[in-house]
Amino acid sequence: MRFIGFFFDLLEPLFKFAQKWLGIERLGWFFVGPNLLVFGVFTFLPIVINVIYAVTGGVQLIPFDRPYTGAENFQILFECRNYFDIQSCRKDVFWRAIFNTAKFSVIQVALMVFFSLVTALVLNRKIIGRGFWRGVFFYPVLLSPVVVALVWKWLLQSQGVFNALLVGAGQTPIEWLTNSQWAFFWTIFVSIWAHMGFYTLILLAGLQAIPKDLYEAALMDKASPLRTLWRITLPLLMPNLIVVLVLAMIRAVQVFDEVFVLTGGGPGSATTFIVQFIYQTGFAEQIHLYGLAAAASLTLALGLIALTLVQLKLTRANDVGQKTR
């Protein structure tokens, strides 16, 4: 504490000078200035650069060397003869990536929330080795997504552990990663396996914050466990559930690393998601279409802003609901 006091004593002349020079009303800018600078350079400037790329064409990396093309990149992305037939779109893989991302988000988030909730409810009970089980479920969260994907790839590849077991049991091997349906299933499974622990932890914290006397009252009223869950646990856990839902949804829309290592987006484009489309268009192809990639990333950003607004609205509605209760 003495050190902090000494530190502020040293800064006092600087603050006094700033106050005198800027005036008391503008002194706030002095304090938020450094933060704004970092925010501007690392958040707003990239957005501006991204917009510049999106409205320019060619394969040059330096923005000043790129010819202005207006909305051409967006036109290329959204050009379809028939919007109900992906195949008729000029950049059909973009639409496939959007469709895959939407499908993945809906299924993965629903399953993620469900399994996280069930796991949290189980781990909240007095079971043998509760600490150990909490550790077991949280452990995958600590692993790098690349490690997670590589481990599962070794298990699932054509000559991997799973097929070795099947062959050992006299069964025919399964194309876990080269069959479109199986590949999509495993992207969802691996993603849930890797991240469920994090969401379980959030829900567990929410469960532990619910006052015990409510459950005691329900017990005295002879409420069934299901009714207790429906009438006490879930309503009081709702703020945490909303946080989990929104975080899981944003994470699902941004899915890339695990899937890229696990399936490479294949077979075909069965597990190509929007971020991978952006990466491949802008960086992995040898004719780098930065403009197209930037246009797709702006489209994704708009989608994520929409999701964030929904989250804000839900959170506010929930706050209002709690206050009125």
Partner: protein, 429 residues
């Protein structure tokens, strides 16, 4: 949560920052030459030994060999160069595509005539514009795409190897017989690469270029796509190589060959060293001439080149080191130890003593060298075409979609055509 929404938008700046940092870390000091190298076998290791010799003769210069995966050369080096960053020298395979970043080292060479007489035949592959007389580096090796077969499996199945003029269909039939008799997973696999695909396509009559010299998808190309997709559907081709990835990501098939999962692979001469090292005495393998189609029996020529880059901070030392590597003694050592076909005219005439090569590797080198004579002129033109990736990459992505049943072969061909024209249009802007 707003910051999350802008995560992807931050990609370009993140890239700049990353490149900036990597440059700060890897910036060459005066007298330091950084060489970005990838290896199929031991190319970078041999280069590092040659570099030590150079350093002992030039104590003021330090050569740093950065061994990177091939993917880095293909995906990251072009971005670095476009941003004005990069090493002094790199080992590249996109010879024409990166040519605008090459540094002319002709003024730093001891004997220009030596270069012209020994590397003159391939110098135009590195030239940024037709007729350019600069020296930008030299081909470290010539390569040719072509197939390898597992001779042991053929012997076990008592199936004779098809002759040197056999067609792809005849090879597929023979390999299928062998696969069935020996319970091998599949008859064939081709590298997941549009470059590899182009060889059979040209053999089947694909002209690749129209009368105006623009890329085109014709009946020969269509025929090859249809055949390739059909071979996947009937199990002749191993599905894992092409269906195991999305987009146009490169995947080699040699691993499946080494593991005994296929009877025949279409890869290239650069894999000889790996086969020699990894197969050892597990089975007998051999390189066979490129199977024929209606028009030719062609593979695709190519190779890797050591090139000086404009991003060099030590151009004098860079030129001196390339000059040293290109000397007959050093080039011979490199070709001999890495079991590569020389692009050095003098050495090609004299012949390389592949002292460390096993008999199988020596025979394979002979097969590939002999195959140069049957290369189609279209194959040379295709290799030297600046935008050849505009057809190669969509071929990989779209054909994969067709063979996993996402789209039909006809739709795949239409999409290849559209993607190809889009890419060329953008690249020409």
């Amino acid at each position: 949560m707003k910051h999350t929404a802008f995560h992807v938008s931050a990609l370009p700046l993140a890239l700049f920052v990353t490149m900036g940092l990597s440059t700060t870390v890897s910036n060459a000091h005066a007298g330091e030459v950084r060489v970005m190298c990838y290896q199929d076998g031991i190319e970078c290791d041999v280069t590092a030994e040659i570099a030590r010799k150079f350093e002992s003769l030039n104590p003021a210069t330090k050569i740093v060999i950065d061994t990177v995966p091939y993917k880095t050369i293909v995906e990251q080096l072009p971005v670095q160069l476009a941003a004005g960053q990069g090493p002094d020298i790199a080992r590249v395979t996109d010879l024409g595509g990166l040519s605008k970043y090459y540094l002319d080292i002709s003024s730093g060479l001891k004997d220009r005539k030596y270069w012209d007489s020994n590397f003159g035949a391939t110098a135009s592959w590195l030239a940024p514009t037709p007729g350019d007389k600069g020296v930008y580096g030299f081909m470290s090796q010539l390569t040719m795409t072509g197939p390898y077969v597992n001779k042991t499996l053929f012997e076990q199945a008592k199936v004779a190897l098809p002759g040197s003029k056999a067609t792809w269909d005849e090879w597929a039939a023979a390999a299928n017989k062998v696969a069935k008799a020996t319970q091998t997973k599949a008859a064939m696999a081709w590298d997941r690469s549009g470059h590899r695909f182009a060889g059979p396509a040209i053999s089947n009559g694909a002209a690749i270029f129209d009368a105006q010299g623009e890329l085109t998808i014709d009946a020969g190309y269509k025929n090859t796509v249809n055949k390739f997709v059909a071979w996947h559907k009937d199990g002749t081709m191993l599905k894992e190589v092409w269906a195991g990835s999305g987009g146009s990501t490169y995947a080699d098939s040699i691993g499946e060959f080494i593991n005994g999962n296929v009877v025949m692979v279409l890869s290239g001469s650069w894999q000889i060293n790996r086969l020699q090292k990894d197969v050892g005495t597990k089975f007998d393998w051999s390189a066979v001439p490129n199977p024929c189609g209606a028009s030719a029996c062609s593979g695709i020529p190519g190779g890797a080149a050591w090139v000086a880059l404009k991003t060099s901070k030590s151009p004098k030392e860079t030129a001196a080191f390339l000059d040293f590597m290109a000397t007959e003694a050093n080039y011979s050592e490199f070709a001999s130890r890495t079991s590569n076909i020389p692009a050095h005219a003098g050495l090609a005439k004299k012949g390389i003593n592949y002292a460390s090569a096993q008999p199988g590797a020596k025979a394979a080198l002979g097969t590939f060298s002999a195959g140069v004579a049957s290369l189609s002129p279209t194959a040379y033109k295709f290799q030297g075409y600046k935008y050849n990736r505009a057809i190669m990459l969509p071929t990989v992505a779209r054909v994969t979609q067709a063979l996993v049943g996402e789209i039909s072969s006809d739709e795949a061909l239409n999409k290849i055509n559209a993607d190809m024209h889009d890419a060329v249009k953008q690249a020409q802007k």
